[in-house]
């Protein structure tokens, strides 16, 4: 509890936590703040005329104005926070859990196995998530296309057991799971593994672990009870920053139209030509630029503040 108190003794950390709570409450209250159209449910709500290519300024129909083609800014802003939180938290929790387990196992495994596990983690470290994402997406498309003209039920596919086994799997994997989410999880667990591994390696020599071993505790019990509990704090520093970072990356990829479906990123991508249109400044169409920008940046800032606050407690950089 000492750390808890220390954390809240700084005003910056209060701001970070309050901002995150704000996003969480907006995300939870989204259906009340801006109900979806039951006929076209989704993150985008059309309030204006579909032929209106110019983004219209705020009026009584759309309190924050409209994107091109009559989409409501406010609606997407509100639902975007739900989308961003969901994406950030799922990716981060999966990454952190996998990374922590991997690092801990590499730490208690025999020296040779541990080194190889770390070497594999280092190999992953050389893989840009953007390339991984494109790769996964193309694998999906390729396997779909190879069935495409044939159809799934053609006798040809029944003969090849290989295809039967693998097609449903990758279909399941990439249709149900967001490919960007999957590739971020696959390609960003390494920092956790490295951090936890170094903590475990130092702790392994400490007296209380030696005592637990002398008392006959099994290695898995030691990992569960002592090592992971000691490693969770420092890993949380990484996790807090990751939630922000992952959402920013998602928005970036959406903006450059490479993939991903961040609502905020897509708002900016739709309004891009109006924001940097000739003859205007950044703020000529401020309702297209400012709301999603502020939403994305404050989201990143909030999680970063919390991450920095935690890093002071656990002495992790």
């Amino acid at each position: 509890m000492h750390r808890f108190k220390l954390f809240f003794s700084r005003w910056q950390n209060w701001i970070g936590i309050l901002l995150i709570l704000l996003y969480v409450s907006v995300a939870i209250a989204a259906p009340y703040l801006s109900p979806q159209d039951p006929r076209h449910p989704g993150m985008y709500l059309r309030v204006g005329r579909a032929v209106e290519a110019r983004p219209l300024p705020p009026d009584e129909k759309a309190i924050l104005g409209m994107l091109p083609f009559g989409f409501d800014v406010y609606h997407s802003l509100v639902w975007g926070s739900r989308d961003a939180l969901e994406f950030g938290l799922i990716v981060t929790v999966c990454t952190a859990v996998f990374g922590i387990l991997y690092g801990a196992i590499a730490g208690i495994a025999s020296a040779r196995l541990g080194t190889w596990m770390l070497r594999i983690a280092d190999a992953f470290l050389a893989f840009p998530p953007i390339a991984g994402f494109v790769f996964l997406q193309q694998l999906f498309l390729t396997s779909m296309a190879s069935m495409g003209s044939l159809g799934f039920f053609s006798p040809f596919f029944r003969q090849t057991g290989d295809a039967q086994a693998s097609v449903p799997f990758i279909q399941y994997l990439l249709e149900k799971v967001n490919p960007l989410m999957l590739s971020l999880i696959v390609f960003s667990w390494m920092p956790y593994a490295r951090l936890v591994n170094s903590i475990v390696l130092t702790l392994k020599q400490s007296d209380f672990i030696q005592a637990a071993r002398a008392l006959g505790a099994s290695p898995f019990w030691i990992v569960r009870k002592h090592l992971i509990q000691n490693a969770t704090g420092p890993a949380m520093v990484l996790a807090a920053r990751d939630v922000g970072g992952v959402v920013l990356l998602q928005a970036t990829l959406t903006f450059i139209r490479l993939g991903g479906d961040s609502v905020w990123g897509s708002m900016l991508s739709q309004g891009r030509n109006w924001v940097i249109g000739p003859g205007g400044t950044l703020l000529t169409y401020w309702w297209v630029f400012l709301p999603p920008t502020i939403a994305v940046m404050v989201f990143g800032i909030a999680w970063n503040i919390v991450g920095d606050g935690l890093s002071d407690l656990y002495n992790v950089r």
Binding site: R119, I120, D122, A123, F124, L125, A126, F127, P128, P129, I130, A131, V134, F135, L136, Q137, Q138, L139, L141, T142, S143, M144, A145, S146, M147, S149, F156, T160, D162, A163, S166, V167, F169, I170, P191, G244, L248, A251, T252, F255, I256, L258, G259, G265, L268, R272, V275, I276, G277, P278, G279, G280, T281, L282, T293, V296, M297, G300, I301, N304
Partner: protein, 356 residues
């Protein structure tokens, strides 16, 4: 053998190991697709689009036989690695080119961007971080911390929007894309010799200062966009390690001997605290390369990432995606290698293997 050379060789031997591990991983991803899908990795250029289904099936079947696509994983992997050495890396239908030549052709753009960004951000990051950490909580430090914090939290595309609107649309100082239209015609003339492919260097070699200026006009915004985030991360880590280094006794003793402040910081403290900063930037090599791709796409630089943009536009294009993945991994490994060598060159403890 001098320890530095030993270090370089030892470090270089890690690269093939990583490369093998990563290609194994990539090919195990490919194994998730059915053999007919895998066959598309080996399609020849300009396939007849009017093939009937039976012809296509027959064609796929020959490829499957030839590259043993129904055999166990390691056999297939072996044939695939062998096929990489033919220098095409498959044919990408979305850009209508062979993958490797397409990537290599666009490499100079990417290289230019990455190289200049690193040349800017590493020295500036180190110097600003050191000065901020030395005078902790001073005015400079406070300003530094605010800017660095904003730098780490500003997404590159928002920064790009701000820059494009201000410096391109309104002021007209800088511009997106690689080169202005008037000069792009000059470049294709026979009088302009392409020695390196890097426009900033080629223009100087040809004695064309105007093209040199124009190339920089187009590089400034992507370089700034790319550098800001990584400058901020690097500088913050440097500041933190400077703060750790400051109270140490050798600094106290150097100051007690009456050395000038500048000498204490740059001669004594700086080299001792380089290791964590350079390690951190080597570890973020992936994110630098990702940043390069993103900046290229935002500013229409027509670098290597053009290949994936085309691949993501609809038609399934496994050769392009796979080739791009291998290529970007090689880029990252090269960058990591360079940064590690730089670290060893600057810090004797690293090259002697004392400091892990």
């Amino acid at each position: 053998m001098p320890p530095f050379l030993q270090f370089v060789i030892r470090r270089f031997l890690v690269v093939p190991i990583s490369l093998v591990l990563i290609t194994l991983l990539l090919y195990s991803g490919v194994m998730l697709t059915p053999p007919e899908g895998r066959a598309s990795l080996y399609y020849p250029p300009k396939m007849n689009p009017n093939m009937t289904e039976e012809q296509l099936l027959h064609f796929q079947e020959t490829i499957i036989k030839r590259y043993h696509l129904r055999d166990p994983f390691l056999v297939q992997y072996g044939y695939w690695v062998q096929s990489l050495f033919d220098g095409t890396w498959g044919y990408s239908p979305s850009i209508s080119e062979s993958v490797l030549p397409a990537l290599l052709k666009r490499t100079p753009v990417t290289l230019e961007l990455a190289m200049y960004s690193l040349l800017f951000l590493v020295p500036i990051g180190l110097v600003s971080g050191v000065s901020a950490g030395w005078r902790r909580s001073g005015t400079y430090d406070r300003v530094f911390r605010t800017i660095a914090f904003l730098g780490t939290t500003t997404p590159s595309f928002i920064l790009a929007l701000v820059l494009l609107s201000t410096f391109y649309i309104n002021l007209g100082w800088f511009a997106p894309e690689r080169i202005s239209l008037t000069y792009s015609l000059e470049l294709s003339k026979a009088t302009f010799a392409h020695h390196t492919g890097l426009l900033t260097i080629d223009s100087l070699l040809n004695g064309r200062l105007d093209i040199f200026k124009d190339a920089w006009k187009h590089l400034a915004m992507p370089i700034f966009t790319l550098s800001l985030y990584h400058w901020a991360t690097l500088a913050r880590i440097t500041r933190a390690s400077m703060i750790d280094e400051r109270p140490k006794e050798y600094i106290l003793s150097a100051r007690a001997r009456g050395l000038s402040e500048r000498r204490v910081v740059w001669r004594h403290a700086f080299r001792n605290m380089l290791a964590p900063s350079l390690t951190s930037i080597a570890l973020s090599a992936t994110s630098i390369i990702t940043g390069v791709f993103v900046a290229e796409i935002i500013y229409d630089l027509n670098g290597v990432s053009t290949v994936i943009v085309a691949a993501m536009s609809g038609t399934p294009d496994a050769p392009a995606a796979l080739g791009f993945a291998i290529y970007s991994v090689i880029l990252v490994l090269a960058l990591m290698f360079l940064l590690d060598v730089l670290q060893a060159a600057l810090d004797p403890r690293v090259r002697e293997g004392v400091l892990k």
